[in-house]
Amino acid sequence: MKNLKTIVLSNQEISPGYFRMKILAPGYNNTAKPGQFVMFRVQRSLPPLLRRPFGIFRAGFMPADCDSMQPKEFIELIYKVVGSGTEIMQRLHQGDPVELLGPLGEGFDLGVAEEEKILVGGGIGLVPLYMLAERMVETSRVRLLMGGRTRDDIIMVTEFERLGVETYVSTEDGSLGEGGMITQVLKRKLDKFPKSTVFACGPMPMIDAVQKICFERGTPLQVSLEALMACGVGACLGCVVKGAGHTEVEPRYLCTCTSGPVFNAENLDWNKIEVTVVGSGGCK
């Protein structure tokens, strides 16, 4: 965990509104775990004031080239342009200076090898699932259910398939894959593979629905949540969610940045879970 002053290696649009950014990141390849995130500083000057949290899509090595003796470590982010910070990010070029604080938070627990794994995600929710799949395919059968409003929200299908993940796509408007909600696909898969563990990341309503399905069946579930964050390290207490057993008298707030972003579903208070990330665009 440290603050890294580094540079952008590449930054490209991969689907309308979705970008993929590669960043030089010494030390990340061995330490970053699936589900962890970074606090990304867009530029040294204002705006924006605060850093932006982004899941780590991938960590890896670039082969050594003639100029440098050692192979270079990098991470990749995938981000959707939604507001002031990501608007600036999309204009960054190779060589531009950026800062990374991380890797931060608790990532996914990979679970028992050999057991069936179902990943559920949509939009940028797919980001942390990629690194998770990368690790899990080595020992388990991994199915990925991708959902979204429309075809633009279905990103990285080829990348996942290349890992050997079975992917199932559904879109609400039927523009890609099966028409309808991802949850109907999940029910079907759980009927067929009832011993699976589920790993979900995506918009809150989706996560909420997935939780209900898993809870009914007693299926183990890990979820990755989003919350508004100022510090990313547990200092500001801005990013809390209510933990299981939370009451007004005996509050059990958990920081999404340090106890999460990945939680065991049973550790959260699902009655009182709030969608803290309001509407489109957050605050400006």
Binding site: M1, K2, N3, R41, L46, P47, P48, L49, L50, R51, E99, L101, A227, L228, M229, A230, C231, G232, V233, G234, A235, C236, L237, G238, C239, V240, V241, E248, P251, Y253, E274, T276, V277, V278, G279, S280, G281, G282, C283, K284
Partner: protein
């Protein structure tokens, strides 16, 4: 970007506030640095002038519903609602951790009644390692219809007087900027026995999501901090320095050495860095280095020679 060093002199950076000796005038602002531990991986806590912890209450406090934070233009709103582990857990777990550092620990605290203020102060009084108390009077006085202690000079005087009786530690009173005349509350706190004053706490503000038409904070109103508020903070520190004899700690929108210097020049003996820690966990180290560099460049042998040198 390091400018040429004019001479090799190592300027003296130590300052003294209410009898506490600080290596340098830089410390975190309460609530932006957790209990210290959170930033230990990024910053050498021993390099700081002091460590100031998250505000404590008698019992653990849940804090507000979410959303609790929101970015604004060059600032942020927060309505954390003073969530904290409570004074007893602090003493047991958090102080134990902090004792490994040589840096003085200043403990921020608050209460909803005078008695609660007094009780928290009393419990901290014999805790070794607590260098001073910082009393946050920006809290609603539940006994008096929720009026903020810090906006009513009489309530402030009474609460500070009570706390003064219950602690032998140096007492810093932290003032709210949301008042017509801060010199009045400043003098009330001084008269009641404060050894030092710190200011400013956040300015109350609000933001609205125009699509959902809801406030951006669950609590509707929150506290504005960050670079946006600095000119207001500098003005208030300037006014308080002229009104009282006790030392003043400047707070508000400090993110660079230049910003800290503005406060020192108007007369603050030390400064606290808040929101800037979120932006750059290394901000305080950079500011300390920047102050040293400024002193060298300007030929200032001792940072104390800069304090209160505003030319009018």
């Amino acid at each position: 970007m390091i400018k040429p060093v004019k001479n090799e002199m190592q300027p003296k950076m130590a300052v003294e506030i209410a009898g506490i000796k600080l290596k340098n005038p830089i410390m975190p602002a309460s609530g932006t640095f957790g209990y210290g531990e959170e930033y230990a991986p990024y910053l050498d806590l021993n390099s700081l002038g002091a460590i100031v912890t998250k505000g404590l209450s008698l019992k653990p406090k849940a804090g507000n519903n979410t959303p609790r934070i929101c970015e604004t233009v060059s600032g942020m709103l927060n309505a954390i609602g003073l969530q904290n582990v409570g004074v007893d857990a602090f003493i047991k777990y958090k102080m134990a951790y902090l004792e490994q550092y040589s840096t003085p620990v200043i403990v921020n605290f608050f209460g909803n009644t005078q008695d609660e203020y007094g009780e928290v102060a009393a419990r901290l009084d014999d805790v070794p390692g607590v260098a001073a108390l910082e009393m946050n009077i920006s809290c609603p006085n539940v006994k008096h219809g929720g009026i903020i202690f810090g906006t009513d000079p009489r309530a402030a005087f009474a609460a500070v007087s009570l706390v003064r009786k219950r602690t032998s530690k140096p007492l810093i009173v932290k003032l709210t900027p949301n008042v017509t005349d801060i010199q009045i509350t400043a003098r009330a706190a001084e008269d009641a026995g404060a050894d030092a004053l710190s200011l400013i706490n956040t300015l109350t503000g609000m933001a609205v999501d125009v699509k959902t038409r809801k406030p951006r904070l669950a609590n509707i109103i929150g506290g504005l901090s960050g670079p946006a508020i600095r000119p207001i903070a500098v003005r208030l520190v300037h006014q308080v320095v002229q009104a009282v004899k006790v030392p003043v700690i400047g707070i508000g929108g400090i993110s660079r050495a230049m910003d800290a210097l503005e406060f020192l020049i108007v007369g603050a003996r030390a400064v606290q860095v808040g929101t800037a820690n979120f932006v750059d966990p290394n901000a305080m180290a950079t500011i300390i280095a920047g102050l040293e560099e400024f002193c060298r460049e300007e030929g200032v042998a001792d940072i104390n020679d800069l304090i209160g040198t505003l030319e009018l």
